[in-house]
Symmetry: C2
Subunit: 316 residues, 2 copies
């Protein structure tokens, strides 16, 4: 699949940071940035830009805040054609802290929001756009939010925002291919002059397959993470995505080295991937938080009891 | 997805046996058979029916041979509506050893063959059908064999055999959705009165997604294995497939218990699943044997060197 419009968007450090309170070492982030730059990835997302007044830097590592200084510390001196991205949540940014794009190492700001918060998301994205940043809006938990409010949100984004792309975010890892096809087509109906993005979660081992499905229907912003790292079941493995895309600008070798050297040892320390409670949560279209709690308990392998507990939630 | 024609075909013991020389204990196989019967799986495949004159029972466990006695030992006394299957390879069966279906616990015999051996496969399948068995032909390594010989093989199977279904077997885990769609449609063109089956391998985490794709295009025989066990990267996880199919005859609870009790401990002892060298072999449409050798060597995590070695093979 060679389509020059396709952008490969790595969110290893950002989504991976949800497992370890965004506390990757500077050396680790620098190694990731270097390898992904060599791999030719279009965007590298390093974390969230949260207000330092809302969260303590004693509780969270640097990639919860992504100060320009910290970003420069892991990127300076490395040859790269990759753009740098940060993610923001509505109500958690302090725009006063944000310099204009021309004074910052950041190129792209992605606004994550639920459908109900879409007005706030548009406002925030337009604010960043006014400061010169590229922007996207990423609609989270979309498997639960496919009613008429979604249509209205898409219409509004199309008319009122300057974002480059709008993402389908399968936060619960619940979508199957047919739903991805339906959603990409719907997004494209409302967003004539914008790109569609896809961010999968791998609860049911469908993050990569669903990303391919999104590509088939003309989504061009594609998220992946190295070795699929990410909260709970993790994301679409970047190495598979690069293997699938035939664009010669990508080079998988640097990613393979990075996995050997950094991610195999890391996976011994923190957990993500195909784990049955996350699969169950995905099948049931539920947030992974109950499964994450289970994995931190003594009943971590007690799948059936966990299944029954989610069935009970559904029945409530 | 509820379609009454769909048959869920478990090959946990058969494909899993490729990792451990078919040497699962009787207790283990009995536990699997019991749980899958309770789960409502349509077929349970217990191994290969190889001639005991060709292979030594000192080198291989009982599920390389699947004698009727061994099958009865693990199934007797268990309430089950599941049919029992065995697999055969061309040139490895001794038909003299095979009783008629009415005297055997086996219901189904699946003949695995490459396109080049399709005449032998038809001959063998017809022999088993004459003895009263249900039969399928499973076309292996199909990602390498999509030329006009495949069309000819399908035409022959359609005209000359009595099989219930013909399988697309993605032995190398190399197929993407679009190829699955293409193949299922091609198979249906030639096999008007037969079902199409799909057996995925999970090298690129696409076994489940490709199985869904096959379902969308009307394949009705669907292979899976518990927790995805199987040679190298393994297969489509049965628990995900059952979670996807909405037919109330399936019950996922028994499978979840089985994974907790038997497969989590087993996975500590033998390896299968998403492992980078298998992913690389899948991307390159190659047999996993080189990757399996790597995993048994000291360079098991040396992915880049392995990648280069496969690139060299491609260039030869």
């Amino acid at each position: 699949m060679f389509r020059p419009q396709i952008k490969v968007f790595d969110c290893t450090i950002r989504d991976g940071g949800l497992i370890n309170n965004h506390d990757f070492s500077y050396d680790f982030v620098r190694a990731v940035y270097k390898a992904l730059s060599a791999a030719g990835v279009d965007y590298i997302e390093l974390g969230y830009k949260n207000s330092s007044r809302l969260f303590s830097n004693k509780e969270y590592g640097p990639w919860k805040f992504c100060s320009d200084e910290d970003i420069l510390r892991v990127t300076e001196g490395i040859e790269s054609h990759s753009k740098i991205s940060v993610m923001v949540d509505v109500d958690r940014v302090d725009m006063e802290e944000v310099k204009s794009a021309s004074e910052s190492p950041v190129d792209m700001v992605r606004v994550a929001a639920y459908v109900k918060d879409i007005d706030k998301a548009i406002f925030l994205a337009n604010n960043f756009a006014a400061k010169g940043y590229e922007t996207t809006i990423n609609i989270m938990a979309i498997s639960r939010d496919q009613g008429p409010e979604l249509d209205e949100a898409l219409r509004q984004i199309g008319e009122e925002s300057k974002v480059l792309a709008v993402y389908i975010v399968d936060s619960f890892g619940a979508l199957y291919q047919e739903q991805v096809e339906y959603l990409v087509k719907k997004f494209k109906t409302y967003l004539k002059d914008k790109e569609v993005g896809f961010h999968g979660h791998n609860n049911q081992q469908l993050a990569f397959g669903n990303t391919i499905e999104a590509i088939i229907h003309d989504a061009n912003f594609l998220d992946g993470t190295v070795y699929g790292i990410g909260r709970a079941a993790g994301n679409c493995p970047l190495e598979l995505l690069i293997g699938f895309l035939k664009n010669p600008k990508f080079n998988i070798r640097a990613v393979l080295d990075l996995i050997s050297k950094e991610f195999i040892p890391l996976r011994e320390k923190i957990e993500w991937g195909y784990i049955i409670p996350y699969a169950i949560a995905g099948m049931m279209n539920q947030h992974p938080k109950a499964a994450m709690a289970l994995r931190n308990s003594e009943s971590k392998e007690n799948y059936r009891e966990f299944y029954e507990s989610l069935v009970d939630v559904e029945m409530d």
